[in-house]
Symmetry: C2
Subunit: 343 residues, 2 copies
């Protein structure tokens, strides 16, 4: 926990109890895409909504053979870990806990799909977890949307772009902006996304398979036991060696939740009210900025797309999220009291 936040605990508990009292644990399901004005209202409320009936050309087209043929021998960047936990807290040498980044390995789409289908290539009998999760705008990055950015519009997935809308009309119109990044995700149940939050409005569409989101509102972040963990990366000493966690002494420690399985009963304190939402193929989740999310996937190959839109910088949202995250510069609220005591 960052300095000072222990003192803020009663305030954070009060905020989260008030918020839950007003909102409960409900989420809305829509049977068709919202209009722009409806989605603008939804963003203002900033609670998750499951949208059924927003379809993308990918939903019908993206078989294994289609993807392999379209991508041919282009290399794609895949996160590899021994245990499926990339960007997560993991025990390293001597049991010490690290925030571990995955090894990034280049492979063809057909090789990735074969591995996810359990068909290992001869030279790799190791039981490693593969997850295409580069999440850097791997389909469309800000360079695509901002021609004045000076950056080059690159994507490993150029041949797949024609199947993916670069933006979602009802979302862009509601928010009055283009997306900041559009990403492709391909994995299976070996890979789990550890609980975290992003300062983006997120539209998450499942193309194949099924994802189970465990969500907490921004107000309940204090239940997640965030700590500072030293940084490490999975590396191979040679291409055939198994992955080993390599500490990165020059990288600043990473603040991350200590709760590995918030989806399990009893993992969170009673003041937390996790919401579980299963997003099946053809369905779309609005995941509001600042909401904590842990994501599991079905055992079959699971493919998803997400559109990240910048959060509205005007107004209060940013200040509130900062307060709830408890940055080090937020005063605990008892400075005057301390001053009095020193007199």
């Amino acid at each position: 926990m960052p300095p000072g936040s222990e003192d803020r605990r009663p305030l954070l508990e009060w905020i989260s109890a008030e918020y839950h009292g007003m909102n409960g644990g409900h989420y809305e399901t829509l049977n068709s895409s919202p209009s722009a004005v409806e989605f603008s209202r939804i963003c203002h409320i900033s609670r998750p909504v499951l949208v059924k009936g927003y379809s993308v050309p990918t939903d019908q087209r993206w078989s294994d053979s289609y993807l392999s043929t379209a991508m041919s021998d282009r290399p794609v960047s895949v996160a590899v870990t021994p245990n499926g936990y990339a960007d997560a807290v993991t025990a390293g040498p001597h049991g010490k806990k690290y925030f571990a980044e995955p090894h990034i390995q280049q492979m063809t789409m057909s090789s990735l799909l074969a591995r996810l289908n359990g068909i290992h290539e001869d030279q790799e009998k190791r039981d490693e977890a593969y997850y295409l999760q580069s999440q850097n705008g791997n389909l469309f990055s800000s360079a695509f949307f901002d021609e004045h950015s000076g950056e080059v519009d690159l994507s490993e997935f150029m041949p797949l772009r024609e199947d993916v809308p670069s933006e979602i009309s009802w979302c862009s119109e509601a928010l009055g902006r283009h997306p900041d990044a559009v990403n492709l995700w391909i994995g299976n149940n070996r890979s789990v996304t550890s609980i975290h939050s992003d300062s983006y409005e997120n539209i998450y569409h499942v193309v194949r398979g099924r994802k189970v989101f465990t969500l907490l509102p921004p107000t309940e972040g204090w239940c997640l036991e965030e700590r500072l963990y030293p940084h490490a990366t999975y590396v191979r000493s040679d291409p055939d060696a198994p992955l080993a966690l390599s500490p990165s002494p020059d990288v600043a420690p990473v603040r991350w939740s200590s709760i590995q399985h918030p989806d399990r009963r009893g993992a969170l304190p009673s003041q937390a009210h996790p919401i579980s939402i299963t997003v099946s193929a053809g369905e779309t989740l609005y995941l509001p900025a600042g909401w904590w999310h842990h994501v599991k996937q079905s055992s079959e190959i699971t493919i998803a797309l997400n559109w990240w839109y910048d959060i509205e910088p005007r107004g209060m949202a940013w200040v509130w999220l900062n307060l709830l995250r408890g940055g080090d510069d937020v005063p605990p609220g008892n400075v005057e009291k301390d001053d009095d005591q020193t007199m």
Copy 2:
């Protein structure tokens, strides 16, 4: 200041500094009515916007003679005070300060307009301030919008309704609801509205004259030195007697700002950033829920309409406004510290 809020002061100062750092003291001006989706975005940002170009039939029609003829001899309820401060902190007997409610007097529209024009009727030479400000949905109340409310749809201003839209299309569509109340306001520079905030989204349209709003964001409410004041009401011992302030011992004390003139230089601490917006005839102000406002009027007869829409109850807005207002049940943030000290 309510119990506990002294301890919260450093936190409130931090929030207001962050908010001002992100938003500055800017307000937007639109030269035409926003679309529904634009207004939804504006409500999400929750900062004041001056709209030029939204016109109401009243703007051309409501001369003194039109209003007097239309209203004929119907009685209307007018707030009367000796000093123009209704619903404000005022010195009473022996200099003690009270939250003073006005005397409510029935008169015809033509009589009200004559008095506001400085043409006193014979029997009233007293220099009293008159302000039609009943603000109870005097044009359209919730009974008009909700046919199932069981309440009778009453208005003192039935003949004027045909000139006033019961709702504003871009606002109702953006918020997904009807107004809760629509009010008519008629006064002159004798009457001032003391600084306060409402938990309503407010659309304020000036028909004649000019209003000057001094606004503070919800984050700067702590600068307003709210205190609990005993309640009192202006009364007359007989119809010809001058007004006297009569304490109401059975009414709970009222929490109200101690700052009578926040529009004057030096009246507020340096951490407050008041925004002054002049709304002229034919212009419309979006005054977001929770924003503090002090309102002065031009010396000519000033007529305005306002539409109050309920604040969105879902999401965080209500919790944040409650936190910033510092209700008595908000913990100061240092309970654990206190507990430690008692051990």
